[in-house]
C-alpha cells in the first residue's frame, strides 16, 4: 500500500527528477538491445523464406514492445512479468487454446489434412495399372541435377523423358541389349548403384499422362496407372468403381448413397459432436461417474496422505535440540531424489505377485495389482512414497520462514504446544502452502505417470474391458486416443477440456475456502 502512495505522490506533485545515467543503466540497456537484435537477426530470415507474414508481424510487434518496455523507465511490474509470460503464452497458453479449438474438430487418423489433400490421397491411393498399358523400361537419369525418368516403350523402342511436368520425346538415345538407355544427349544416365542411392526419390516421382500417372516399379521398370477414383468439382463428389461418393462437409468424408464413406477424410469443424459423444457414447459414459469419483478420491487421498506424513516429519525435526537432522533430511529426501519414473516401475515390480518383494517379505500371496481394492491401496501407497518428501521439503521451508518468536511467545504465555501449533504454526503454514496444496491436488488429478507406469489402469473387470479399476480420466483419455486403434485427437482434446473444466471447478471452490485464511490478493 505504502509503495502505491509513494509512487503516486511522485508522479502527481513534482516532475520526475532526472536520474543521472549510471554505468549499470547504460550497460543493461545496451545488453537488452543487443539481445533483441540477435534474436531478430536469427529469427527473421527463415520466416521471410517461408513467407510467413503473420508470424513475422507477431515477431516484429513482440520485439518492438519488449524493446520499448526495457528502454523506458516506466511499466516496472511489466519488466518483471514479461519474460516468463512470453514463454507461458508460447508454450502453454497457445497450445492449450489450440487444444480447445481442436476439440471442436474431427482431427485424427483419417482426418489429418484439408480436403485437397484428402482428394489427392484418394486419387493416388486408387491408382491401378491401366489395362493394356505398356510396361516401360526405366532408366533413371539426371538433367541439370534434377531426376528424370528415361522411358523406353517396349514395342516401339521410342524413348521419352518423364518429369513431374509430363512427358517429352528424346532424340538420339542409345539403347542397350536389355532395353535400357545407355546414354542420351543432354542427360546423365545413373548407374545401378547411383540409382539405388536415390531409390526414395525414384519411388516418389510421378509422371502425369493423359488420364493417368507413370510411376516407377522398382528401379528398372515403370508402369502407367490410372486412378480408379476421380474427383469431380462440378458435383463435389468422387466417381469411380461404379459408385459415387458425395462430399459431406459435416463429417469430413465422401459418403455414398448407402452411407458408407471412403477411408480418407479431411479435417472439419464438427461443433459439439465430440462433447455429445463423451456424454452419450455407451462405452464412454457408462463408467464416467465411477471413474470420476475414484479420480477425485485418488487426488484427495494423495494430497492428504503426503501432506500429513511430510508435515509431521518436518515438525518432528523442527526442534532446536533435535540431533542428526542433517542425516535425517538426506534420507527423507531420497525418494524424491530418485528418478520418479524409474521408481514407479520398480514399485510395480515389488508388488508383483510371483516374485515381488512385498509378497516375499511378508510371506503373502496377494495379487496386488489384480484386486480392485488392493490395486487402489497400492497405487496410493506408491504415490505417498513418491510425494511425501516434496511436502516435507516445502513444509520445512515454510517452517523456517516462521519466526521462532511467535511460537516462543505462545509458550511464554503458557499455551500448550498443541494449542500453539493449531493457533500459530498451522495457520501460518497454510498461508504459505495452501496454493501448493491446491496445485498438488490438480497435479495428482492428472497424475498420468503414477497410474500408467504402475497398474496401467488395471485391473479390468469383465464387464468393462476398457475402463480399469484405477483408471484416471487422463489415463483413460490417453488410452482412448493413443491406445490400440486409430488416433482420435479431436476426441482426446475434448476429454482434455472436460478434465480442465472439472479441475478448474474443484480448484475454484477450494480456493474460495482457503482465501478466508489469508490475503493472497492483498
Amino acid at each position: 500500500m505504502s509503495l502505491d502512495v509513494r509512487e503516486a505522490a511522485e508522479v502527481r506533485s513534482t516532475p520526475r527528477p532526472r536520474r543521472e545515467l549510471t554505468t549499470a543503466f547504460v550497460v543493461s540497456r545496451i545488453a537488452v538491445l543487443a539481445v533483441a537484435a540477435a534474436i531478430l537477426l536469427y529469427a527473421v530470415p527463415p520466416l521471410v523464406a517461408a513467407e510467413s507474414w503473420v508470424s513475422l508481424t507477431l515477431l516484429g510487434l513482440a520485439s518492438a514492445v519488449i524493446g520499448y518496455l526495457y528502454l523506458t523507465r516506466r511499466f516496472v511490474p511489466a519488466k518483471y512479468l514479461v519474460p516468463g509470460t512470453l514463454f507461458l503464452i508460447a508454450f502453454q497458453v497457445f497450445p492449450v487454446l489450440y487444444t480447445v479449438s481442436t476439440s471442436f474438430t474431427n482431427f485424427g487418423d483419417g482426418h489429418r489434412g484439408d480436403k485437397a489433400a484428402a482428394i489427392t490421397a484418394i486419387e493416388t491411393g486408387s491408382v491401378r495399372q491401366a489395362p493394356g498399358s505398356p510396361e516401360y523400361g526405366l532408366s533413371a537419369a539426371l538433367k541439370d541435377d534434377a531426376l528424370v525418368f528415361l522411358l523406353v516403350d517396349p514395342k516401339t523402342k521410342q524413348v521419352q523423358a518423364g518429369t513431374a511436368d509430363g512427358l517429352a520425346p528424346v532424340q538420339g538415345a542409345k539403347l542397350g541389349v536389355t532395353g535400357k538407355v545407355l546414354e542420351a544427349p543432354g542427360y546423365t544416365v545413373l548407374k545401378t548403384q547411383e540409382a539405388a542411392a536415390r531409390a526414395k526419390q525414384i519411388a516418389e516421382l510421378a509422371v502425369p499422362t493423359q488420364g493417368g500417372l507413370i510411376k516407377a516399379n522398382g528401379l528398372s521398370r515403370a508402369v502407367e496407372g490410372r486412378a480408379a477414383l476421380a474427383y469431380d468439382a462440378a458435383c463435389d463428389c468422387v466417381n469411380g468403381n461404379g459408385d459415387t461418393w458425395k462430399a459431406d462437409e459435416s463429417q469430413g468424408y465422401f459418403v455414398n448413397a448407402k452411407g458408407e464413406h471412403l477411408a480418407q477424410g479431411w479435417q472439419v469443424n464438427v461443433g459439439l459432436a465430440n462433447f455429445a459423444r463423451v456424454v452419450t457414447d455407451p462405452t464412454l459414459s457408462a463408467h464416467f461417474l465411477g471413474m470420476f469419483t475414484w479420480n477425485v478420491a485418488f487426488a484427495l487421498l494423495s494430497v492428504l496422505a503426503t501432506f500429513a506424513l511430510g508435515m509431521s516429519v518436518a515438525l518432528a525435526l523442527h526442534h532446536p535440540r533435535m540431533r542428526g537432522t542433517k542425516i535425517y533430511r538426506i534420507v527423507l529426501i531420497l525418494p524424491y531424489a530418485m528418478p520418479a519414473f524409474a521408481m514407479l516401475l520398480v514399485w510395480r515390480d515389488m508388488f508383483n505377485r510371483d516374485f515381488g518383494l512385498i509378497n516375499n517379505l511378508f510371506g503373502l500371496d496377494v495379487d496386488w495389482m489384480g484386486g480392485m481394492v488392493s490395486a487402489k491401496v497400492a497405487v496410493i501407497l506408491v504415490n505417498l512414497w513418491l510425494g511425501f518428501p516434496y511436502m516435507f521439503l516445502v513444509t520445512t521451508g515454510a517452517l523456517q520462514a516462521i519466526p521462532r518468536e511467535l511460537t516462543e511467545a505462545a509458550s511464554i504465555d503458557g499455551a500448550p504446544p498443541s494449542y500453539a501449533f493449531r493457533k500459530v504454526t498451522l495457520p501460518l503454514l497454510l498461508v504459505a502452502l495452501s496454493p501448493l496444496l491446491i496445485s498438488s491436488f490438480a497435479f495428482n488429478f492428472n497424475n498420468y505417470n503414477a497410474i500408467a507406469l504402475t497398474t496401467d489402469g488395471g485391473p479390468f473387470p469383465a464387464d468393462s474391458p476398457t475402463v480399469g479399476g484405477t483408471d484416471l480420466l487422463i489415463s483413460y483419455t490417453v488410452r482412448l486416443a493413443f491406445g490400440t486403434g486409430s488416433a482420435q485427437f479431436g476426441l482426446a482434446a475434448t476429454m482434455s477440456v472436460f478434465i480442465f473444466a472439472i479441475v478448474a471447478t474443484i480448484s475454484a471452490i477450494t480456493f474460495r475456502r482457503t482465501r478466508k485464511q489469508e490475503d493472497v490478493y492483498a
Binding site: G84, F87, F91, Q92, Y390
Partner: protein, 279 residues
C-alpha cells in the same frame, strides 16, 4: 523423552523411505542381473551390471547422462529466475491486472502442458522446419518447452515466501534511494535464498524425471535424456533381463539430484528473515 519419540517416529518414516531404494541397490549389485533373482538384501555383490551398462553399444548411457544434467540445470535455473521475477512483481508491486494475473496463473497451471501434447507436437513440427536448432531432437527445443511451465507453481510458491518477508525492509531501501532492481538483487534475493534452494532442487528433480514430453521430443538415441533412454531399456523383452542394468542406471541417475541436494543443504538455514527484522 520427547526427543526420543521424535527420533523413533522419524526413524520409522526413514525406513519406509529407504526400503525401495535398498531394493534397487541390491538389484544393481546383484551379479545375476535379472528381476526374478533380485531381493531386498544383496545376495551377492559385483559390478557386473555397471560394466554391462557402460559397455553397452545400444544404450549410450554417458551421453544421456550429460544431456539430462545439462537440460535439468539450465531449465531449473532459468525457470527459477523467471518465476522469481514474476513473484517479485506480484508480491511487491500493485498494478492493474494483478489479481487477474494471479488467478490466471493458477488456472493455466491446472491445464497441464502434456494434455496439449498433440498441438505442441504440431507446433514444433513447424519450428523444426523453420529453426532446426530449436526443433525435435535438440536440447534447446525441449528447454524452451520446459520454460513455458516456469511461471506456474514456482511463482505461487515464491510469492508466498516473499509475502512473509517484511515489506519494511525493501521500503527502507527504497527510501535510501535504491532502485527496484537493486531492491530485487540486493535485498529480496539474499533473503529468499532458503526457499530458492528448495525450489531449485524441486525444479531440478522434476526436470530430471520429466518423461512424457521428452519421450516425444527426443527420438534420436544421442539426444535422449536418462528418463527416455532408460524407459526403453526395460521396455518389452528387456524387462527381466535388463533389470540389473536398469537398477544400476537408476542409482547413477540419482547421483546428480542427491549431490545437488547436498550442495544446497547449507543454504537451507533458518532464521534469515527473523534476523533481518531484528537488525
Amino acid at each position: 523423552m520427547k526427543l526420543a519419540l521424535r527420533h523413533a517416529y522419524v526413524l520409522l518414516v526413514c525406513a519406509f523411505a529407504l526400503f525401495p531404494i535398498l531394493f534397487v541397490v541390491s538389484a544393481a549389485i546383484n551379479p545375476l542381473g535379472t528381476l526374478a533373482s533380485s531381493d531386498l538384501l544383496p545376495n551377492g555383490a559385483g559390478l557386473d551390471n555397471f560394466v554391462k551398462l557402460f559397455g553397452s553399444d545400444i544404450y549410450p548411457f554417458g551421453r544421456w547422462f550429460i544431456n539430462s544434467v545439462f537440460i535439468a540445470l539450465a531449465a531449473s535455473s532459468a525457470s527459477l529466475l523467471l518465476s522469481m521475477f514474476a513473484a517479485y512483481a506480484f508480491s511487491r508491486m500493485r498494478f492493474a491486472g494483478r489479481r487477474v494475473g494471479l488467478l490466471a496463473l493458477l488456472l493455466i497451471q491446472m491445464f497441464p502442458q502434456f494434455l496439449a501434447i498433440v498441438t505442441i507436437f504440431m507446433i514444433f513440427t513447424r519450428v523444426t522446419e523453420l529453426y532446426p536448432a530449436f526443433g525435435f531432437n535438440t536440447t534447446w527445443g525441449i528447454l524452451l518447452l520446459y520454460l513455458g511451465g516456469a511461471l506456474g507453481v514456482n511463482t505461487w510458491l515464491m510469492k508466498g515466501f516473499l509475502d512473509t518477508i517484511p515489506k519494511e525492509l525493501d521500503e527502507s531501501a527504497t527510501v535510501d534511494g535504491a532502485t527496484h532492481a537493486q531492491v530485487f538483487w540486493k535485498i529480496i534475493l539474499p533473503l529468499v535464498t532458503p526457499i530458492l534452494a528448495v525450489t531449485a532442487l524441486l525444479a531440478f528433480i522434476g526436470t530430471m524425471s520429466e518423461f512424457l514430453m521428452a519421450n516425444i521430443f527426443l527420438r534420436d538415441p544421442e539426444s535422449k535424456t536418462l528418463a527416455v533412454g532408460m524407459y526403453g531399456m526395460i521396455a518389452g523383452d528387456g524387462r527381466n533381463a535388463n533389470f540389473g542394468m536398469f537398477a544400476a542406471a537408476t542409482l547413477l541417475t540419482a547421483v546428480p539430484t542427491v549431490s545437488v541436494f547436498l550442495w544446497l543443504q547449507k543454504f537451507i538455514v533458518s532464521g534469515l528473515t527473523a534476523g533481518a527484522v531484528k537488525g
